[in-house]
Amino acid sequence: MAAPALLVEHLDLAYRTEGGRLHALRDVSLEVAPGEIVGIVGESGCGKSSLIQAILRLMPTNARIERGRIALAGTDLLQLDPEAMRKLRGDRISVVFQDPMTALNPVLSIGRQMMDIQYRRSGGQAAKRARAVEMLRRVRLPDPERRLNQFPHEFSGGMRQRIAIAMALMAEPALLIADEPTTALDATLELATIELLKTLQREIGCAILFVSHHLGVIAELCDRVNVMYAGEVVETGDIRSVFHNPRHPYTQRLLACDPARMAERSRRLPTIPGDLPDLVNLPTGCVFADRCPAVFEPCRQAPPDFYPLAGDRAARCYLAREEVAP
């Protein structure tokens, strides 16, 4: 079997803050096979952005990876020198960011920006221009030749997001990281963008790591999903079984809170009571214990491991262990 497009193993990441060490990621492991679309879902502050920054090695200066391994198609990213890592970005690994309004330089025409990021390619201006036009056509931007000379403010949000996608896929990377690319778009555009990503993924054959807090989008697009909570992956598995038969109490509650899945009308939207744990002073037991409806004795004593389940699934919960134990 070929090396996975992305392999993250036992990643620990901490921020140095005034209050002390903040454990933003703990024992995060995930895998994206070549050509696969894998989702990461979780609420704000669960470590999604920290994980992306760690994979790209574009972390804030106060962040440190304390343990673990990140490999891109077999290359250990944490062992690369900064220059080699820079060469990889935009070539083998690319990103689309959340806010299409700010992800493009406002004072340069999009053609200029799209040609500029091809600096690694040989060939003249005309060839680069042709390549930019071709990419814009692939993301279904109408009249690309003319629009190449326009500035970001002359495009709508959806168009800008498609331009950002075109820029990210320009070098046909092995892995595209999509950081909530549809969150800033309205519902119809969201669907169109997902369809576009699916089509492009088939054409280019890249793997996609799709980050979102929107369960519906993840279900629509991804093959497998990783549910994150407070810096840990709490559940992983194929999309169908995780959504239909969630094993971690957090996943269960998260799904129950999705308005789109509610069976009947209610005056109040359901929430998960309680707050995220303090990541500077971690609880001794499971990080979800304080909010968990199924909490029992072992949860308070030591954090649970990531227990494998049948069907290539896993959950970080003592209940899951009970299940697999003979």
């Binding site: 790209l56 574009l58 935009g90 070539d91 700010t102 493009l104 330089n105 340069l108 690694r120």
Partner: protein, 270 residues
């Protein structure tokens, strides 16, 4: 441009620039030819602005003086911009310790009073064109550097910079193609408003004998010569003062009009 004063400024600046370029055509006399017999003449058809204490044609001296005034003010401003913006970008984008060190340098340079600096510098290197330019650079570049640094700090964390970095752009590429175009506008406008100040610095230094050496015509030295002989004839002082007034007014009007046109905060009130 909808500003009437701006239009006036533009006309004045263009006129001064044209005069400087075509000085040989505009002036019929040599600016340095002595004719002691014709000293202190009032304006006439032969000498449009009269003559000075050595009988030199004042009009020719004023016309050739514009070359000194413009080349120093534009040249020194450009050099200050180049130096200031480059160091400012480095301070704003580079690591924290470098930023702190450069800030210290900017502030130290800026804290010298211009006139004192000019006196001290000329004492060291002697009066010359280069000395004037150096004084201007030392007094102007730190302001541009500080502006560039502040603007860079606000742009460097913009999402498009992060997006470019994650697409593999290096620091040099980000500074040159993404940050610089975003920050240069306001700095250019401030620089255009600084040009009249530089004209005045050059004239002032030449007036004090710290600028270009005689017999090279400079408006400041014309003024100074006229000042010594004000009882004999008022024309040299007028001839030296008028172009300074016209040029500084022209650049000021133009600079303010540019600022008002490009400043989004001001355009709303009109």
């Amino acid at each position: 441009m909808s500003e009437p004063l701006g239009a006036v400024g533009l006309v004045l600046v263009v006129a001064v620039v044209l005069v400087a370029i075509f000085a040989g055509v505009v002036a019929r006399h040599s600016p340095i030819a002595l004719a002691p017999i014709d000293r202190f003449q009032a304006p006439s058809e032969a000498h449009l602005m009269g003559t000075d204490n050595l009988g030199r044609d004042l009009f020719a001296r004023v016309v050739y003086g514009s070359r000194i005034a413009l080349s120093i003010s534009l040249g020194a401003t450009l050099l200050s911009l180049l130096l200031g913006v480059t160091t400012g970008l480095i301070a704003g984008y580079g690591p924290r310790w470098l930023d702190n060190a450069l800030l210290l340098v900017f502030d130290a340079l800026k804290s010298f009073p211009t006139v004192m600096l000019a006196l001290a510098l000329v004492t060291l290197v002697g009066p010359s064109l280069q000395a004037v330019i150096l004084v201007v650079i030392i007094s102007a570049a730190p302001s541009y550097a500080r502006m560039a640094r502040t603007q860079t700090l606000s742009v460097r964390h913009a999402e498009f910079v992060l997006a470019e970095r994650s697409l593999g752009a290096g620091s040099g590429r980000i500074i040159a193609t993404h940050i610089l175009p975003n920050i240069i506008g306001p700095i250019l406008i401030v620089a255009s408003m600084d040009i009249p100040v530089v004209v005045a610095i050059e004239a002032g230094m030449s007036f004090l004998g710290l600028g270009v050496r005689p017999p090279t015509p400079s408006w400041g030295s014309i003024l100074n010569d006229g000042f010594s002989y004000i009882r004999e004839s008022p024309w040299p002082v007028i001839a030296g003062g008028l172009p300074i007034i016209i040029t500084t007014l022209g650049f000021t009007f133009l600079g303010e009009a540019l600022r008002d046109t490009f400043d989004p905060k001001r355009s709303g009130s009109r």
